[in-house]
Symmetry: C5
Subunit: 352 residues, 5 copies
């Protein structure tokens, strides 16, 4: 079970606004990647020191600073302070148990989303914090590796209109990349469901149930991430901030539609799974009936016959049948008739 609530208790009683890293398995040094561009210029760097960010802030260009690793809270604080970020926002950035949300602080927009991806057959959630300012975008991610590769490519190669637009369009592109990844995760889940379904109807097994349970849980967590994501993006596209231009709002409406589609799909999958579960249960009952039918047929035919053999296996001295010449054959015949007529009865009841 993904830890829903991590080490929140670590933080109890501390003054609010104290940035405490809440998350698991943080390691390695913090990494700061900067991409700075305008329609005509482009620069890409990996910074050594937090202080090196500052010159980019001054420039008129759009600056995208991507911070990988959020466990060194002092470093995060340093960067944030340089860009005038509120302490509560900093606290939210380093607490990976955030619910996706969008908050408008006059001078910047703060968006937290969950990035989803599969690794080692497990569904993983990673928190991405996006801060959209006048001419900069800050992103904070928990570890190396993200879904922004193609956005970077578009900036580098000046594809589409990204280089012609402002920082709000960059923020939109990043959110779009995150949302798109939900679709590929859902695609994988959809295929898994399809496979299980095919097997389930033919030959129900407990392990399919466990697999369904796993998918159901994944959907549960996806849903937990999607509903507030939808809300956050909805707020953005409904003119949530003056930092977002009307042009970008139209694009945001588009990903808002996507989030609705995501939620729709999750709910549909859940319905299908619960339906499959019912089918599984009824299959088991059916199988039990099959088994019991076999048992009942065998027992019902042979128990009375065995009783008859038992009668003539008794050692009474005076048992006239035993002396009849064709007694044995007669009894065999009677038993055969009895057995066959029982089998016919079962046939009629539709048990055989």
């Amino acid at each position: 079970m993904p830890k829903i609530i991590g080490m929140e208790s670590k933080k109890m009683g501390l003054p609010p606004g104290t940035p405490i890293y809440i998350g698991k398995g943080a390691a390695g040094k913090i990494k700061i990647e900067v991409i700075d561009y305008s329609e005509n210029s482009f620069e890409e760097k990996t910074l050594e020191k937090v202080e090196d960010c500052l010159p980019f802030k001054e420039k008129k260009n759009v600056t995208w600073i991507n911070v990988v690793g959020i466990h060194e809270t002092q470093e995060i604080e340093k960067i944030a302070n340089k860009f005038g970020i509120h302490p509560l926002t900093i606290e939210d950035i380093v607490n990976t148990n955030q619910r996706p949300k969008m908050e408008d602080f006059e001078n910047y927009v703060f968006v937290v989303l969950k990035m989803v991806y599969y690794s080692n057959e497990n569904l993983n959630f990673e928190q991405i914090s996006i801060i959209l300012g006048e001419n900069f975008v800050l992103t904070f991610q928990e570890k190396e590796g993200d879904v922004f590769g193609l956005v970077r490519e578009r900036i580098r190669k000046n594809k589409g209109k990204i280089r012609k637009m402002g920082s709000d369009y960059l923020a939109y592109s990043l959110v779009d990349a995150i949302v798109d990844n939900y679709f590929s995760v859902l695609e994988v889940l959809g295929e898994k469901i399809e496979q299980i379904e095919d097997k389930l109807i033919i030959k129900p097994e407990q392990k399919q149930l466990v697999a369904l349970h796993q998918i159901k849980r994944d959907l549960l967590f996806l849903r937990r991430a999607s509903w507030p994501m939808r809300e956050a993006i909805g707020q953005m596209h409904r003119g949530g901030s003056k930092l977002i231009t009307h042009t970008t709002e139209v694009y945001l409406r588009d990903i808002y539609d996507h989030t609705i589609l995501i939620i729709d799909t999750i709910e549909t999958y859940r319905d299908i799974i619960s339906d499959l579960f019912d089918i599984y249960l009824s299959s088991i009952s059916n199988k039990l009936n099959e088994i019991m039918k076999v048992l009942t047929i065998i027992a019902t035919i042979f128990i009375p016959l065995t009783f008859i053999t038992g009668i003539y296996g008794m050692n009474f001295e005076h048992m006239p049948e035993l002396k009849w010449e064709y007694g044995y054959y007669l009894i065999l015949l009677i038993m055969a008739i009895l057995g066959i007529s029982m089998a016919i009865t079962f046939k009629k009841r539709g048990w055989i």
Copy 2:
């Protein structure tokens, strides 16, 4: 399972507004059908080149351009550009995973709906995009064959008031045709449910369950298509755009009522199916009880009797009963009494 999310991942990371065909099995060349009419004139053509659309746009007449096949995205783009369609709309047209919706762009209204029909016993969904402009209607469909035959007929033969009305009335007629088709699909499903129901109560079988499961799934997808359709049509009839006259809005209210009826029916069907499922389960349990009763009656009567024969089948030297002259008959009598009294007990318990 209908692919809910197709090859969305194909598109990941591309600049927004890049029209990428998302759908399956597109083949054949694009086909452009034009119907141009006013109260007194009528013209119908199949165009060779996209460029041939243009003259129609200029005319005062109502022009309906129906594009069959949306996989050649450049062609779609060409047409759309001629009519001043926003890139995001074009992207939506060629992406067949759209959620039904209605969007008002000042100069045109964009409506996406799902056309449903049965083919080869399977429920199929095809995306229809309708663009309503000042004096034109553009429709885009995935493949040959649609539900608009009777609308065309009415235009050709000047039946009803369609030729007297504007492009908004044409758009309404098309939406109406799509909505009406949901009813015929529901009718088919209703009949299937009725058939299964009749069988289920008489003789429950696993295959009926699988059939119910299939219907349930069809309803799931119908519902996914109907709810947003209702919303989209609701928006249209509530004065969603200045391109829709008040007269047409009254008609749209009528199909809005139909969509509610569709949703109502879907929900009723779902309730009925879930009820049938319960009945199925209880029937299985009942059958198991029947089977077990038979087994228990047989076993309970004959096992003790067999035990008695076992006693007198023992080979002890000193067993006085064996020597009694009527021992055998006595034992037979005892067993008969025992068996009959057990049968009576079962009778009393209502098991026989």
Copy 3:
């Protein structure tokens, strides 16, 4: 299953506003009953020709025209046209698959409701369309026989204040009569549920389940009719039209409360039924347990004993016990002890 969607497909593709009769089993000629009254005058007639309606329309009196039979659509159209009814309303009148609704057309109010009644142990729904105009009320029903008998009586005998009030009060009285009939239907259903309940707890049987299933379905259709009915009446009492005076609105609020009570009762019944269903299922399980206990007790006691008799039924030459003088009695004793101690064990486990 009542046909939820009848022959809707009959109508596909026709121009909207084309009145097509949709319903089943229409026969016989249309019948037009007119009641015309004021505080001091009263006239009741059955008209031969549609044209004879006209003089009544002119008069200042309140005129109630009740049309029985809606399959002759041309006749309906003729009447409707005389009273200035919109084509879409006419279409709705003759389509018996209408959802209950209230629509305000400036010069008249259109209300569609479902009349419910039992006939031959089956719940039937019949569509009643009520058109309330300045000084007339038109009602359209599918076939002979309705729930308005007592309203007619009140008009004829000048009971209560109906003759002193306008056409809106007449419309209210008709709606009230329809709503009241829901109560008597629910009363019947309530009694059926009670009967089944009493039996179910004592002796659960499959046929009770089928009866419950039937009631559940009836409730499903009642609910489908009641929810929109509540909405329609709610609209009327909330000042839906200038044709309804404030005095009548107070009375409408009263039936609005009744519709809420109807819905409440339906939901309560549904809850009770689903609870009964659970009890049924658990009773079946319990019975299975009872059956299996009997089988297990018998088998567990006698199978080991039979094994013992089997041992001494073997024909080995060297079996010293067989030669003991009291061997037989000893073995009988051992088997008795074994049997009794097993019975005690079962007693302790609470199985006997």
Copy 4:
């Protein structure tokens, strides 16, 4: 099952506003109790004639007239007319199938609530109608006995501020007394649930299920009474009428909170019961498994052994084993080994 809908049909077709008594088992004469008080004066009387109410109405004091028995509708009408009550209100008073509600008629406020109490182990509902006027409160109850004893006591002994306040505070006190009684009923139900729960986990029995079913039904009817009660009181505290002073509104907010707590508790109980039901079902399944294990163990051990004894019980002339000196002992040994090894297998599978 409490009759949810009583003899409503009695009333069908009568002109609205005709007060018809709807309820069961009314007997005895109507009784009119009057309490009249101001801060300094107090008078308590049981009236003989309806006409004697009048002088109290004139006085400036607060007058509380409590009418016991509502089956003599003419008497009720007489009283009501004296206080200017609308015919529809009178009709509501004598119809005991009213849904709890609050209605504001300019000159008075009409509140209908359900009084709940236990008698003979059954949950009973009695309708209380409260009419709050300028300086009077009328209450109508079905039969002798109510929950207002302590309110009377407070007035008599001038406890609290009730004598210092107006008629609205009296109405509030009465409503408060009714609402408080819901808590004592819930307390009883809570204890019943607890008792059943304790037994259910130890030893599940069908009769507990029936008891749960009874409680569930009681909760169903409590809920039916509580939801609209909450609504009615909510309307009162949100300034529903100018007859209710702001001071009293604060107190009403308090009982409004209580009604929410009541509903909360009902829902919690329902959840607990549905959970207990699941546990019951699973316990039954578990018991079945236990039973079947015993049967299977016994049968699986002894059936093969009995087969072996059967072999050596055959009467073939040439069966060398029978002649071996230690044949018998060998066979006994083999059977012992077989039996023990089977028992070990079961042990390993965790069946013993």
Copy 5:
């Protein structure tokens, strides 16, 4: 089961605003702890007499008065009166069955919350009433021991900005501490669920079900406490009172987000538990199938074979097979073939 409704009946009929202690097991004397601070000063005291509170009220400093024990209602009344608290608020403070809520009385804000904690493996709820005034905060708790330790620490050591802020920030800090504790309780529950889940899939047992039932119930009560808590905090952060500054509102929005996360988590847990329950049920069914298979295999193989031995155990004088030299071996062979072929059949059906 936690008593949801305690001794509410104790209070029935008393004048409203009479503070009656409702709760269980109150003992010991009341204890009054005072912390008084400004940015530069700090004082902490345990008061002997209620009267000693007064000087603190006069001072400009922020004063936090924490009252432990609410069963001595007169004492509570005395304190409350000194601070101008409304009688209804006092009544709410001493009634521990309060629903969490926030009420704004002009001169103070009244917040009731439930503090949750584990003690002796049981989930406990304790009511905390917080009164926020101009320059004071009063808190009332049922017994010794709370979750405010770290807040006290921060005030004492002047950590964070608490000493620089007003009484509203103190109230916020207390609410924050209470809300944080919900997370630690959920963490414990989450771990319990995880442990049960791991066991359940491997080896389902009834006791796990009972444990799940316990957790489900705990979640039920947590939910009952969380929903209204969320509402209350929501009201506070949405500018519920002029006593709460805008700065503090930002912080309150933060804990509002936490309450949403709490509710989210509770719902997720409930979903997981209901899923586990389903898996449990299906595991039991599966086990039953396994058991029945074993029984059926054994019985189906050996019952027919035993029948054969029965035949040749009969004592007829004329049974030619008995005299055949290799009759015995032939029969053994036949039985072996029969047994093996049956085993193969089972193998094919996948039962072995």
